[in-house]
């Protein structure tokens, strides 16, 4: 008699391996990018946060990306742009 357990889940097989980037030790003088997700107030909230961070840490907001929708990934083109123009990126939902 077979006692095999059939696991219906996919836990580790993913097509793209990824790793997290290192975190900056200080925010002072860095360039920040924003990812807006098209929902009401998303851009408003992100810009407010960027303004406050700028005042506190002398940051510069360098680029704002508008996603296609809240559920879409950030495009490779936008990621490439952030890599050139920003030291870190803020993303938020807003609703």
């Amino acid at each position: 008699m077979s006692r095999r357990v059939f696991d219906p889940t996919v836990s580790s097989t993913t097509p793209i391996a990824f790793s997290y980037t290192s975190r900056p030790t200080s925010l002072h003088g860095l360039r920040v990018g924003l990812v807006e997700n098209t929902k009401f107030n998303s851009e408003v909230i992100l810009r407010k946060i960027a303004e406050r961070l700028a005042a506190r840490y002398q940051l510069t907001m360098t680029h704002l990306d508008h996603k296609k929708s809240s559920g879409h990934s950030v495009t490779p083109e936008a990621i490439a742009l952030f890599q050139q123009k920003a030291d870190f990126v803020l993303a938020g939902v807003g609703d």
Binding site: S2, R4, V5, F6, D7, P8, T9, V10, T13, T14, P15, I16, F18, K68, S69, S70, G71, H72, S73
Partner: protein
Amino acid sequence: MRAKHQEYEKLFMSANTSNPPHSDPATAAEWIEFYYQQGWSDGLPLVPPTEDSVQAMLATGGLTGDEVLGTIDERNSIIPAEKVAINAVMAGCLPEYFPVVLAAVQGLCHPEFHYHNPATSTGGSGLAIIVNGPIGPALGINATNNAFGPGVRANATIGRALRLVMMNVLNTRPGLLDRATLGTPAKYTFCFAENETDHPWVPLHVERGFRPEDSTATLYASNTLMGVYNQLASTPEPLLWEFADAVCNLATPNVYGFNETLIVLAGEHAEVLRRSGWSKRQVQEFIVQHARRTVADFKRAARLPGEIQPEDETTWRQVMRRPEDLLIVCAGSQGGSWSACLPGWGNKWTRSITVPIRIGVGP
């Protein structure tokens, strides 16, 4: 109707309990409990898979198990064939149902369905599988009395298999990547066939370019289900006014002109339209034209920002722009004055997807 009654009578009234399996039911119960404990269930008992049952499932799909059926990029996820077969067995599917499940899974992976949105949203959509073509009657998929209700294995288990794939393969679990505020009972299962008998027009798959003898599964992300009741309308206009009112209900999430909406015509409503001679396009255009609200209505309900201006009371906004975004299918029993309006979950990026069902050949 008589045939349907006889079918139910055969199923429920002629139960034969004289020859049950030889094995102890407690053994099955132990396995069911074991699978519960792994966290793989939707809350209902799972059918414990065996080597034979998983292989039988794969065979009807023309698959070996190693194939990748699709990917969901936003989830960084792949869908292996064997996992779909395991979930289909667990859902209670017969092997012959598997090609329908496969077609639905292909729909999930279609870029224009944009899975991550309807699957994750607080809006909590149920994913309806609408089956067209000869496979519906061949598998006994209910298209008539209680088409959305319980009691038919094919409907219950095909829809459930898709949800189990979503939960177990794509991690669309409550509290994790399913963030629905309330969810919907349609998340347990939602599969029905279009009733192509006495249809006023051509069925959905033919409208979408398939041949009548083709079989298809259309995947549609639905936010909710509103019953549409009208017992007095004997001509199209009053009946369709009511559908238009359902379509532009202010509580519907997407009233900004770009979403899809599904109307399921049943019983006497379908007959009124069939007798009228109106084309499906005429019906779609009438509903879309009359599904509108004043800007003041939107503002009163805070569906648009800002103070109400005098001109807002006479300025109209359409809630749909394109007649083809109104999907119309027929299902349900012949008797009764009930139909249904199912507003799409969607934003403009999630579209219903129709996929051909292939038996014995991989997708």
